[in-house]
Amino acid sequence: MRLGLPEFVQNPENRCPVILLLDTSASMRGEPMAELNAGLRAFHHQIMTDDLASLRIELSIIAFGGEARMVQDFVTMEEEGPPHLEAGGDTPMGAAMDLALRMVDARKAVYRANGIHYYRPWIFLITDGAPTDGTDWQHAALDMQEADLTGRATFFTVGVQGADMDILREIASPNRPPLMLRGLKFRDLFQWLSASVRRVSLSRIDGERLMLPPVTGWAEIHP
């Protein structure tokens, strides 16, 4: 007697939503923007090499340069390649954070309506400056910190050369102080990000204790 072929239920794949909040203001023009775009392509490529992760990770991109704009709605890596971003305008970081939180909630509602299980969303902000949208950013930052502390999403902040790290520290969650990108190592940053979200999307974890790869390849260590 052998165990026959139990039929597997066709559940929708679990989803791991990731939002990139990318500073595309005028100061990013030139090499920083080229390296950021190269980093996005590397990220896409690395996720695609992992069959399961490429089905689970859904990437959305919000660019903030002149205005906060959703450049890409949540899609899996299979569905769409990375967009090419252009730099210009000021730095409406507060509006971008607001938009990100609204998108997280909307996406969760879609998942729930369709019986899709999901992972804690990641919101990953990268900037080379400081917010230019008045005091809006302060309200948005408080909302974002609350979201991180209550588990609505996991919020990371990364400063690129020229970023106002004092303000970024005010924006970041107390759980996760901002990191400073070493030079223009966007590709290393995105390699780390892909390894980290793959790790999250493939395993079960203790929500309060994320175990992520070391950031030493791309981040400056500040005392």
């Binding site: 007697m1 052998r2 165990l3 026959g4 072929l5 139990p6 039929e7 597997f8 239920v9 559940n11 929708p12 679990n14 399961l52 969760k108 369709n114 019986g115 899709i116 299980h117 999901y118 992972y119 804690r120 588990g151 999250v200 493939l202 395993s203 079960r204 974890i205 203790d206 929500g207 204790r209 994320l210 175990m211």
Partner: protein, 259 residues
Amino acid sequence: MSWMAALDYRQGTAHRAAGIPCQDFGRLVQLDEDTIIAALADGAGSARFSHYGARAAVDCALPWLKDRLSNNRGSRGRLTTLSVEALFDGLVQTIQKELNRIAHENRHTPRDYACTLTLIALSPNEIHAAQIGDGLVVARQREGDYTLLIAPDHGEYVNETSFITDPDAQDHLHLSSLSAPIRFVGAATDGLAGVSVDNRQNSPHAPFFAPMETFARQSTSAGDVHNGIRDFLASQRLAEKSTDDLSLMLCGWQGYGSA
């Protein structure tokens, strides 16, 4: 033999590739012709020694449950005189105490041993089950469909669950029981949930469990059941669907007096 029952567990392909030990552990004990107890545990991916935690939790829970049953033996086909609440009263404290002791001895924290635990006591007319975390238990009565006796318990996020080492573990203890002639029981850790439980209906997928029941009830020895489970857990088909550690218990009732 009246029950044909076995349990096995296997390291997931993702764990093997990453050099992470198998964090699942389980054991099944047939106490007498009618009575089976079993425990399945799944160590937290984020806890350093959760593979030891899973083993220690199972090895602590089974003798404890055996004592609870033998001190409160039921009559006329009943497992025990105790209600399910009374039967599992003290379970969380007992396991926590043991894991705290091990952690203390090794100068670790109890959290380093975090794991889920699913515990089952089964007779032909009754099943009592307890769960902390995202294990699952499916049962079928003599007449009826497969029911999810214990559903995987995860919070909002699919990869976050409760562990027996959590300070508030008692609040996340789920109990379930069924008093009726039972023909089949299946139990698993979360590695199999995605292929066996319909997420939209939150119900067991009958075409997954039906061949397993047929197999268990028609097997001629517990060894055969064990081999069948082992081959299934090792199958390429399954590896394509789940890269996590896998545990599966099958119990099929063959009736009294069968060879």
